[in-house]
């Protein structure tokens, strides 16, 4: 072949360098690697079977990628278009994804069900008018919680929850704690280890612990948040009449399985001395009277969830949190001033899903961990006072402990 292939030296060096740079496949800077597993909330628990992994992935897609449109049943009034748009990366939400519930001012049920209650669908398809809170109706705003490790919390037995409850504060620590007792909605069947009283069952999910299990929460979320009907909840939020299912039962089961098998957040720096000291102080000043470190699961057909100890820092009970946190609205048997202890695991990763800021407590009003603690009242007043009385260094250690959860 007659070639006149003469590339000047400098040029060939440039090209060689360029190619070498590009061929560094696998190098982090070139092909970004996964963040540390402990630094992200999404992902399945270990030891799922292939079939379980496949179902997890189907649920993952339905939860994060299935965006509803007018054509697939969105609304016509709604709060958001997909689960994932409120639960980004399975983490906590933001004021933009915060929803409003209204119409129930005591334990005797919602008086505004015929006027759009309990949930405000504050957005609407073009041509429709979103709901407004009827004048005088009590309401509250709720910021999305993280979704991690919920499968474990679902499996805590009623007996264990009752054992943590101390309705009359028999131990005199100022902390009582009660479950939210409600009748089961018709499409739910009771868990084997449920301990009903007068046909009232312990509910545990949601900020007022008003949802029985993850199926209950998921069906409600499709219906109330996205305006999507199912065989479980066929009532259209706009027209108030029953219509065809807009999401299939199998998709709902996949999403529930996905939520059940999301991994648990792990402590990221447990051996640090300051963290260890913070944890000791956290227990000493009574935070763990409500934010219980360790719970255990009962039987589950999923081996990865069965009879496991886990560390969510919650007791799944309702507590009187004082006047400051009383919005005048409630659900089930909870009082307006009662809130379910939120799990603290994953707390330090909140900013990664809240747009770089903290929006803590039920409505996101606390912009830092410290202000969330300081806003505790009621049953938590005593431990808050003890927190305030700590030295700055001790407070810092508690924060270090919480931030690595």
């Amino acid at each position: 072949m007659n070639t006149t292939f003469t590339i000047p030296h400098v040029t060939s060096n440039v090209i060689a360098m360029f190619c070498a740079a590009i061929l560094l496949i696998g190098c982090d800077a070139i092909l970004p690697s996964a963040p540390n597993d402990a630094d992200v909330l999404d992902g399945p628990v270990d030891a799922l079977s292939s079939a379980q992994h496949a179902q997890f992935l189907r649920g993952d897609v339905a939860f994060n990628d299935d965006v509803f449109t007018a054509a697939t049943g969105l609304g016509p009034i709604f709060v958001a278009t997909s689960c994932g748009s409120c639960h980004a990366g399975d983490g906590k939400g933001h004021p933009f994804t915060t929803l409003t519930r209204f119409g129930q001012g005591d334990e005797n049920g919602n008086a505004y069900l015929d006027r759009g209650g309990p949930q405000l669908q504050n957005r609407a398809l073009p041509g429709y008018t979103p709901e407004q809170i009827p004048g005088g109706a009590p309401f509250t705003k709720l910021t999305p919680p993280a979704n991690t490790g919920l499968g474990f919390m679902e499996l805590v037995s009623d007996a264990d929850i009752i054992a943590m409850s101390d309705e009359n504060d028999a131990d005199g620590d100022g902390v009582s704690g009660v479950p939210n007792w409600r009748p089961l909605v018709s499409y739910l069947s009771a868990h084997q280890n449920s301990i009903p009283t007068n046909e009232q069952y312990i509910h545990r999910f949601g900020k007022k612990a008003a949802a029985y299990n993850l199926l209950h929460q998921t069906v409600n979320a499709y219906n109330q948040d996205i305006g999507i009907t199912s065989i479980f909840e066929p009532k259209d939020v706009y027209s108030g009449v029953n219509i065809e299912p807009e999401v299939s039962a199998s998709v709902i089961h996949d999403v529930v399985f996905y939520l059940q098998t999301l991994k648990v957040p792990v402590e990221r720096n447990p051996n640090d001395e300051a963290v260890k000291n913070g944890k000791r102080l956290f227990i000493q000043i009574g935070c763990d009277n409500c934010h219980k470190q360790t719970l255990k699961t009962a039987y589950s057909p999923v081996a990865a969830l069965r009879n496991k100890e886990f560390h969510p820092y919650t007791d799944l009970l309702l507590h009187d949190m004082g006047k400051g946190l009383d919005d005048g609205y409630t659900e089930g048997s909870a009082k307006t001033y009662e809130w379910r202890t939120p799990a603290l695991w994953g707390l330090g990763l909140s900013q990664n899903s809240q747009g770089g800021e903290y929006f803590l407590l039920h409505d996101g009003r606390a912009k830092s961990i410290t202000s969330a603690i300081v806003m505790h009242g009621g049953e938590a007043a005593m431990s808050t006072q003890k927190f305030q009385a700590l030295t700055e260094a001790e407070k810092r250690d508690i924060l270090k402990f919480l931030e690595q959860l």
Binding site: T11, I22, I30, P32, V67, A71, S85, A88, L125, G127
Partner: protein, 443 residues
């Protein structure tokens, strides 16, 4: 209309075209296809070479090369392509093909390596009669997953300043939409602002005028068309963001206009032979089905896109810079979700330098180019009602390229992309790295 009638009309049309044949000349076809590359300096087509490559078949086919005169505008790009014509036939054909490898990894997750047949495009041009020309562009994307008639328009030339165009035409918004042929670019991926903000390739059925005026070193050009427009998928789609590309998905738009109101697109471009080209364009229309069966369902909601494009060549043709910025305004109902933004902004700039030109193997005018593309897109400009904080939903990307052009109309490209993309709330970005190798050539 019955099938029979349609057939008769088709036959008649054919007959008319056939009757025109003897009158039309190959030169006419050549005229018509006077190709220019807006990237004339950079793609640097080399007609001698293109011709010599065709010598074997030149007995039957003649290659009409790309016109490299520096007075062509982006808006000429559809015609400014290499074509093949046979004897005295007034029909010229051409096309290009693109294929590449793709390896992409986002936050440590990759779907592995894929081989992609992104595009196979055929052009047919024909001089129907003196001053009447037709050009069609048929594109097969990803094999035959998508088949689009991107261009099928007839031009009537009354005066250089006054041409009537009708049919399926490419809306002259920005520069890339009309000047998108793979072999002209040193990058495998199309610019994000041109494909995910402005929806290249955007073609619609319509009519309008275009023309040009030459004076000394200056060329001025304009285009103004009325076409069908977008539909409400712009704000009702599974991407969960405002998207013009989603609003053009419905193939029925070549037959029915969603809003019933014409969308207008207008472009004004100016080029100085030594300095470069600057284009200003606007596209605006109503996108929603505001009325059905005579009943008003909603107010008329508009979408408007503004674009600024430019390109210039320096260092006697060894440095080429081109870019485009687009701003989009969409009337989104206040009571809908802020997930769907009412303003978008994005753009890209390509900087390409030739590091070697000369003879490589048998290619006498080969070039080795190094370059980079910088891109930014904000799919949702604005602030949250709830917090007044910035709505993110944005990305930036930097993409170096190494391109080998054995001839001006053929390119082998090696690209690397590094990209950060943030969600609506501005959470830590999805980081993507991608490596691609591909070929693209006119034929």
């Amino acid at each position: 209309m019955s099938k029979c009638k349609i057939l008769t009309i088709v036959c008649l049309c054919n007959a008319i075209v056939f009757m025109q044949w003897p009158n039309a000349t190959a030169a006419g076809a050549a005229d018509f296809t006077q190709a220019n590359s807006t990237r004339s300096d950079s793609t640097r087509s080399d007609s001698t070479q293109a011709n010599s490559m065709q010598t074997d078949s030149a007995q039957i086919f003649k290659r009409i090369p790309v016109d490299t005169a520096p007075d062509k505008l982006n808006m000429d790009a559809v015609y400014n392509r290499p074509f093949l014509t046979a004897g005295v036939l007034p029909v010229a054909i051409g096309g290009y093909v693109e294929a590449n490898t793709n390896y992409r990894q986002t936050n440590g997750i990759s779907e592995g390596t894929s081989f992609q047949a992104r595009r196979f495009t055929l052009f047919v041009s024909s001089t129907i009669a003196s001053r009447i020309k037709l050009l069609t562009e048929l594109e097969f994307e990803d094999g035959t997953r998508e088949i689009n008639l991107e261009f099928a328009a007839v031009d009537f030339e009354f005066h250089p300043l006054l041409n009537l165009r009708g049919g399926i035409l490419m809306n002259p918004i920005g520069a890339f939409n009309q000047n998108h042929d793979g072999p002209k670019w040193d990058f495998i991926d199309r610019p994000l602002s041109a494909t995910t903000l402005l929806p290249a390739t955007l073609s619609n059925v319509g009519f309008g005028l275009h023309g040009k005026h030459y004076q000394h070193n200056w060329v001025l050009g304009y285009e103004a068309y009325l076409t069908n427009g977008f539909d409400d998928k712009i704000i009702s789609n599974t991407l969960n963001r405002t998207s013009l590309p989603e609003g053009k998905m419905n193939p029925a738009r070549f037959e029915e206009n969603a809003s019933g109101l014409p969308m207008y697109t207008a472009k004004f471009a100016v080029r100085h032979r030594q300095i470069g080209e600057l284009g200003l364009s606007v596209m605006s229309g109503v996108y929603n089905k505001w009325k059905s069966d005579g009943i008003v369902l909603d107010k008329k909601r508009s979408v408007t896109a503004l674009a600024l494009d430019f390109n210039t060549t320096m260092l006697s043709g060894d440095l080429y810079i081109t870019g485009e910025v687009a701003k989009i305004f969409i009337d989104v109902p206040d009571t809908y979700s802020q997930t769907f933004g009412s303003e978008q902004l994005g753009g890209f700039v390509d900087i390409i330098g030739t590091v070697f030109k000369g003879s490589i193997f048998d290619w006498e005018n080969a070039r080795l180019n190094l370059g980079v593309r910088l891109e930014y897109v904000d799919y949702n400009q604005g602030t949250f009602n709830e917090t007044n904080g910035n709505i993110a939903d944005d990305l930036w990307s930097i993409m170096p390229t190494f391109a080998f052009r054995p001839t001006a109309t053929t390119v082998l490209r090696l690209n690397y992309r590094y990209q950060h993309q943030r969600d609506l709330l501005g959470n830590p970005p999805a980081k993507t790295g991608a490596i691609q190798f591909g070929i693209s050539t006119y034929f």
